[in-house]
Symmetry: C2
Subunit: 259 residues, 2 copies
């Protein structure tokens, strides 16, 4: 029989609620997956889940049962508990707790493929969306430079939509990465709103390259822009001052890639 | 001398705080612009502002003074009031109250140009970002079909980044709009994840067209998809199930446009 938790005072419930905070995730070395899409992505990627929490009205029970083995711990929780641990306010009736994954720190010896480098991007939704887009665009990895938000905070996790299970995530000094790309002979495209930059449609599509996206307000650090093969921009035709960074990244990732 | 409000109990403060809710905006027929970028965009677009609220530490006072005329009402508010009326939790020290603008309801006789049609898009951030991108891509207007979120809720306003002052926003029955496009002879591209759909890169770039983006979970309504010139899709190369709708809209708007 499935274990049941109904009291909001239960110590597990308290721990799960604490996963909303960076401190809570650090102490417990785990994070919360909310909603069927994310839990399913984790199961399909064979990520070990510490526990899966469902409410009585969770609708995909049959599909869930097919995807898990007998050892997987399942706990039935009350709707009130679901509301309490949810970050969205509209819980879908399923959650899972997964171990925090360490982002990779070492620059791989082989840099073939497509890489997205993020310099000081701030907004959690933008960060998660860019990881998801890089996954969709068949990128090899995403590298987080300085100023990276916590990758396992609920908003980033929600926007990644499970792409953390599909694509390699690195943290590191972007200047070192650019040096490695220069040695590999693969081009690095920086993004810059400047008369010196090149219209992105002038760049030849390739299989192997790196693209740097920068901070929402200030763009890519100017020292990094000096290390690139070429800096590029997306022309603005209307009166908007700029594009959202995740939208710009999506346009560039698909345009620069030779598939 | 500038009027000052310091008490959080002041009735104006109560009214401004109520602008966070749909009911409050409806009763007062106005909405809140938060942050210097938005207030500046409104002033540059010569939008009449009912009042501008600044805190003592607002840094762009000199630029603000240049942009306003003497009749513009300015009120100095305390940091506590700024926190209270802010939707972000990190107020930048400037706000303005603007009249709710009615979105246009009538289909224009001339449909030349580029149009973005939104069918039941739900997320306020996605909606605002798409309006901003349509502005940047030089579109003529955005049309909101069924299920449109409230355009003046704080999250939409924040993501639009002032593009509501640059581009025409319509509400209407998208099926009627598609009939009008058919009569005009301009193509309408629907978006659909389906084997019948065409790779978006096969579509010839044009000056005049409409693009329909759909609901985050369910896509564009299938009845609308029957009315289009051609339905298109963006191929996924990795393991992500889909792209974020605002990212997909950005890729398509820039790719389909002939500039």
């Amino acid at each position: 029989m499935m274990k049941k938790i109904e009291s909001i005072q239960n110590r597990y419930v308290k721990n799960w609620t604490k996963l909303k905070t960076k401190k809570g995730r650090k102490i417990q070395q785990s994070y919360l997956l909310e909603g069927w899409h994310l839990v399913k992505e984790a199961l399909l990627a064979q990520i070990k889940l510490q526990v899966i929490l469902v409410t009585a009205d969770f609708k995909e029970q049959a599909e869930l049962t097919k995807l898990i083995n007998q050892e997987q711990q399942l706990i039935l929780i009350s709707p009130v508990i679901a509301e309490k641990i949810s970050d969205t306010g509209h819980p879908q009736g399923i959650f899972a707790i997964a171990a925090l994954e360490k982002s990779l720190a070492e620059i791989p010896a082989e840099l073939a493929g497509k890489w997205l480098l993020l310099d000081n991007v701030q907004d959690p939704g933008n960060i998660g969306t860019m990881v998801r887009t890089a996954d969709a665009a068949g990128f090899s990895g995403v590298v987080f430079g300085r100023g990276t938000a916590d990758l396992f905070q609920p908003k980033v996790v929600r926007s990644m939509q499970g792409s953390q299970f599909h694509i390699r995530l690195f943290t590191g000094n972007l200047s070192d990465w650019l040096t490695a790309f220069a040695q590999s002979g693969y081009p690095v495209w920086g993004t810059e709103v400047s008369a010196q930059a090149l219209d992105y449609r002038q760049v030849k599509r390739t299989h192997n390259f790196a693209l740097i996206m920068g901070n929402e307000g200030n763009g890519v650090d100017f020292q990094l822009l000096k290390q690139t093969t070429q800096n590029i921009y997306i022309p603005i035709y209307g009166q908007a001052e700029s594009l959202n960074v995740a939208v710009a990244a999506g346009i560039l990732m698909f345009q620069l890639s030779n598939y």
